[in-house]
Amino acid sequence: MSDGPDELEKNDGQRFDRLPETPADRTVEGRVSREEVLEYFADRFAIPPETFDGHTFWEKGAGKIWIYGGEAPTPVEIEAMGMTCLRTRQEHWKPTTDFAQRFGRHAEACVIELDRERARRFAAGEDQELEWDGDWGYLIAAHEVGVEVGAEDERSGDGEPVDRDALEPLGIGLYVHGELRSMVPKGRQRDL
């Protein structure tokens, strides 16, 4: 009984604490580890763990995980660092819209492509009926936008557009019962 969870500290929601490397390094009750966060992004979205080699993960608030690329000691009491990326301490972990837009281009699974009209409804925060053969739960919604002018064409000056992976993440959607629910927060929703 001496190494049970009753020896772990309580989470202090007012400060940033860096996530422990592995579950075995955990000192705070219920806190996820870096390893588990990387596993989640790899298992769910096939985002390679090395994508985050330059970043650290932190918890502030109950289950709110932040991704940060700068320097800071742990713990640290400041207003914000980097961005909130994931909500843990609940059955189904939920990534944020801002995380999906920043890192979602690395995802190769659970990405649902929307046409322009569906993307417009998604950005406006609407739910929509949609067929999807993949897993239920949180998905990265994406659409084709801003088809890039290829660098070579630019040099030669003919300006022919070249389609170089034009799929761009919009945010997080929740797929259940044949319906895609937009998780774009109110402040980020737009009528386009």
Binding site: G69, E71, A72, I78, E79, M81, A123, G146, G187, R188
Partner: protein, 302 residues
Amino acid sequence: MEPLERYRPIVDDFEAFLAACRRPLGTAVRVNTIKTSVERATATLEEDGVEFDQADWNPRVLRLETDSPGATWASFHGFTHGQEEVSAVPPVVLDPQPGERVWDACAAPGGKATQIAALMDDEGTVVANDSNLGRISALRFNAERLGATNLAVTNADARNYSLSPFSFDEFDRALVDAPCSCEGTIRKNPDALENWSEDHIASVSGIQKGILRRAVQATTAGGTVVYSTCTFAPEENEAVVQHVLEEEDCRVLEFDLGLEHAPGLTEWDGQEFDESLERAARIYPHHNDTGGFFVAKLEVTA
């Protein structure tokens, strides 16, 4: 426009200056290279059906032919951020490098702080501070929307700023985009001069001196400090830099600026300033059809 009369002796073509101040300002955005390339951002704006012109001095600054730059796919994706053209000048003059530690002393709502993060390729540390808690939420919102992961936000008075939350004790570079009387924003805010008074200028000038002194102290020897305001008042510009030249170890540097501008003043209202203040830049609205701005670049010498 009455308060601006005091600048008649120092502004070239004063009538053109006044005429420009009366014209409303166009809409400009900055391309956020943390999330995309200039090519893709402009291709997205073309899909959005929004006409634009690239600024000659900075290909990342676009002048848009629309009144609602937020209602575009480019904005939704965080490819673009609404930011006045001259407001994109100070981070370029600061010239931060990937991996450095950079302080933005008065950062909210975050246009310049996120531009600094982008110029650093989102690598290193940007400490974005603001004394006003109410404005911190806008700073946080913009940092997350634009995907700046190297940015930490603090809420403190910049005049006696402490680096104690962090694991380092000085910055490589600092930007002081100081709170000011905002005369230069008259084209955006027609009532910018409504509460204008020399007393207000005198009191805000004291705050500016305190912040700029702290920025020089908190920056490593050989490091860079940029001081900027969106006002014409020499009391808030050259006089602030003059004060810090006298009190701290630093000097004024020359810098290249691809925008038309006038040199800083060496004299105002009976007060003389160091000759090196001519290296500062005064950007007037009629020069480039923008808002008004002042920028000085300092090197910390000890």
